[in-house]
């Protein structure tokens, strides 16, 4: 049966539009790194998360290896509990890895930078990162600087 040109045009239209949808999913959004090829979650307590948001990047040596999944207030310790999901490919991080909240660029987004420790044990699902460094709060930094310079004057 010969194909009607009308049907071919409609087929072309639908396939073009679906291609556009795929373009949006794969090229525009973070869908491609959402694919779960396994991951594990670790917790970290921070004194102050200062503007860190969930879905922020977690990187080691500048390479993204995971994302922040949840930030909540821990009312037992009065600090912030941050859940970090790390890609299962990187399952050999030392258990004394330390985490600090950093800023990309001067006004950029906050992210978590991990620095490897030296132990032979590895971080497991549900472990705590013990060594953490809070976000730099600009006001605190300035007041510290002012106090120091006042001390120097004496």
């Amino acid at each position: 049966m010969p194909c009607k040109p009308l049907e071919i045009l409609v087929g072309l239209f639908v396939s073009l539009c679906i291609a556009a949808l795929f373009f949006l999913a794969l090229q525009v959004s973070n869908y491609s790194d959402l694919q779960d090829n396994g991951s594990y979650t670790v917790n970290a307590h921070f004194e102050n998360v200062g503007g860190l948001k969930s879905k922020a990047l977690v990187s080691m040596a500048g390479v993204p290896i995971g994302r922040v999944t949840e930030i909540s207030f821990d009312s037992d310790n009065y600090d912030a509990l941050v859940k970090i999901r790390i890609d299962a490919r990187y399952n050999n991080l030392p258990s004394d890895t330390s985490a600090s909240i950093l800023t990309s660029g001067l006004l950029g987004d906050k992210y978590i930078g991990l620095t490897p420790g030296g132990l032979d044990e590895f971080l497991q699902e549900g472990d705590n990162i013990e060594l953490t460094q809070s976000a730099l709060v600009l006001e605190r930094l300035i007041s510290q600087f002012l106090f120091n310079s006042a001390d120097d004057d004496k």
Binding site: E7, A20, L21, V28, S29, N30, S32
Partner: protein
Amino acid sequence: MNFFQSIGHSSLKFLAKLGRSSLFFSAILTGFGYTLSRPGLLIKQLYNIGVLTFWLIAISGLFVGMVLGLQGVYTLSTFGAESSLGIMVAASLVRELGPVVSALLFAGRAGSALTAEIGLMKATEQLSAMEMMAIDPLKYIIAPRFFAGFISLPLLAALFSAIGILGGYLAGVELLNVDSGSYWSQMQGAIDFHDDIINGVIKSIIFAWLVSWIALFEGYDAVPTASGISRATTRTVVTSAFAILLFDFLLTALMFGAS
């Protein structure tokens, strides 16, 4: 006394119209199986409604994206943040402009045509003639058009966003020398598949339902005269635009308001 009487009259008229349109919609839904069993009807309407709107959507998307690119560079360069251009273009297109502008264009191009077509069929008593031959015009005429519109608009909105993002790339990166790598990488970092793209698609599905429903109902409910059809066509465009923008506000508040 006449003033109050007219208020009551027009609100009763409005309620009656709402009721009629709801009954009309449920009648369309019963035609779903009929449309599926006759794909030829659906394909013909997909051509009339979707394919013929293709170029309008593609070209408007390109220019909207290019304007966003130019204006974005102009504004962002005052903070030295041109590298965030990709986020700005993609977020505004995927979340808002893609669904809304393509729905408005769709109402103007396809919605008005649907109303005029159905209205003229009613005026020339083609619909009554079908009923005489025991063919339900709601199933044979209205339902395929409704589902064709319902399928077409979300696809067209995705196309609009995709072409708009390429247009933003053209204006920002090719014309104004924003870095190409940061355009794409910042965009991919900031645009979330579920929060942004899926929500945009949900929006356009709801707009597709609104526009197709309004256009077909206005045609079906038109006063079967020349001036009645012209008024119905105008009402389609006006009511659709109003409904799209109202629902856009509600959906945006629901989807993005909490974050």
